[in-house]
Subunit: 216 residues, 2 copies
């Protein structure tokens, strides 16, 4: 169940405390962490795979595969050679700091440089829960239409980078990626929008650079 | 905020009671209602528009546009000539029976035959909240990948019909729509999967027939 309205302040305070502990733990092991949010099918997993393929000789990547159910993304990470942990929420629509701590306890942090925490696929719930990561990005796909930023202002206003993915399909779909970019820049003037198409290797280098991945 | 674990049983009982009242109200006015769920960008709005275009001479359609924020879908319905009501949840990831009742209070029910209640775009939260509709459908798009059914078993197990949309893009995306169909039929052997592509008028007649729309 979701959205029971009580004591939001207390719950958020507790989540922030747990997130701060995760931050300390990651810092202690010298691991940077990025919270990767976005709707189902936006291409979060494929982008992490594409980044791994480019940086694996320099940077040791880990990934938490957050999903309501199943091991699909975990298996993809594992097959790509990324140190992965499968994290099912069962009915919850987001990860939280406690679940992420559980992942950290089960991963070889001393062997990692950078951890992607792939959140559950939607643009609503993940925005409310700090995880203790260093940065937050949102991945959207042109296949979701032109209006997804306007429909979910909160998650975009608080994210440093928005990846607008699958731009190679823009014409086939009839969606102009400049429109969500303009909406994002209006909501978050300090944010950065990056156009990508993972299978075409478009924008991956720019994303790696924006996330400062090879300069740890 | 979401997912506060307490007294789920009581909350669900209250939601069921409110849903039952909606059902009575709709029945009193002779309006059938369909809860349309699915991720953002799956094509819920376009499918409702396509159905309206085909049946408008026979069936008077209404639509509730459920979104976290904005009026994009409401405006689309309104421009298409569908009697529409805009329902923003602000931070919640789903509609609930109370919000739907609010819509019913503000719509000319006596003028309607059929009401589409377009839920907030994700495959997690809407599954937990009965609204008082006669049936529930889930719309997925091939652009979301092949694994969305496995990742969200609950919503698919309880839905009478799954619409697998944008099948005209299957080849361009490299996603075989038979895979989610097979997953759905395994989870829900009595359910029916329908392949559609709204802009190509593929599957719309089959969907209208499966929903029994013109035989009210």
């Amino acid at each position: 169940m979701h959205d029971i309205n009580l004591e939001d302040g207390d719950i958020l305070a507790k989540q922030k405390e747990l997130a701060s502990k995760n931050e300390d733990k990651l810092s202690l092991h010298g691991v940077r962490a990025i919270n990767v949010m976005g709707a189902i099918g936006s291409g979060k997993t494929a982008l992490i795979e594409a980044i791994h393929e480019k940086v694996k000789d320099k940077v040791k990547l880990g990934a938490v595969a957050g999903d309501v159910a199943g091991t699909d993304d975990y298996e993809r990470f594992d097959q790509a050679g990324i140190t992965a942990y499968n994290l099912n929420t069962h009915s919850d629509c987001h990860l939280d700091a406690h679940l992420v701590d559980h992942s950290l306890e089960n991963m070889p942090l001393d062997e990692l440089d950078l951890l992607f925490v792939e959140n559950v696929g939607n643009l609503v719930c993940p925005a409310d829960f700090p995880l203790g990561t260093d940065s937050e990005i949102v991945v959207i796909s042109v296949t979701e239409g032109e209006d997804m930023v306007r429909k979910h202002p909160k998650i975009f206003s608080q994210s440093d980078i928005v990846v607008i993915n699958k731009v190679d399909l823009s014409e086939a779909i009839g969606v102009d990626p400049e429109k969500p970019r303009a909406d994002y820049e209006e909501i978050n003037p300090n944010g950065r929008a990056i156009f990508t198409a993972a299978p075409k290797d478009k924008g991956i280098d720019e994303l790696i650079s924006a996330l400062n991945i090879t300069n740890n």
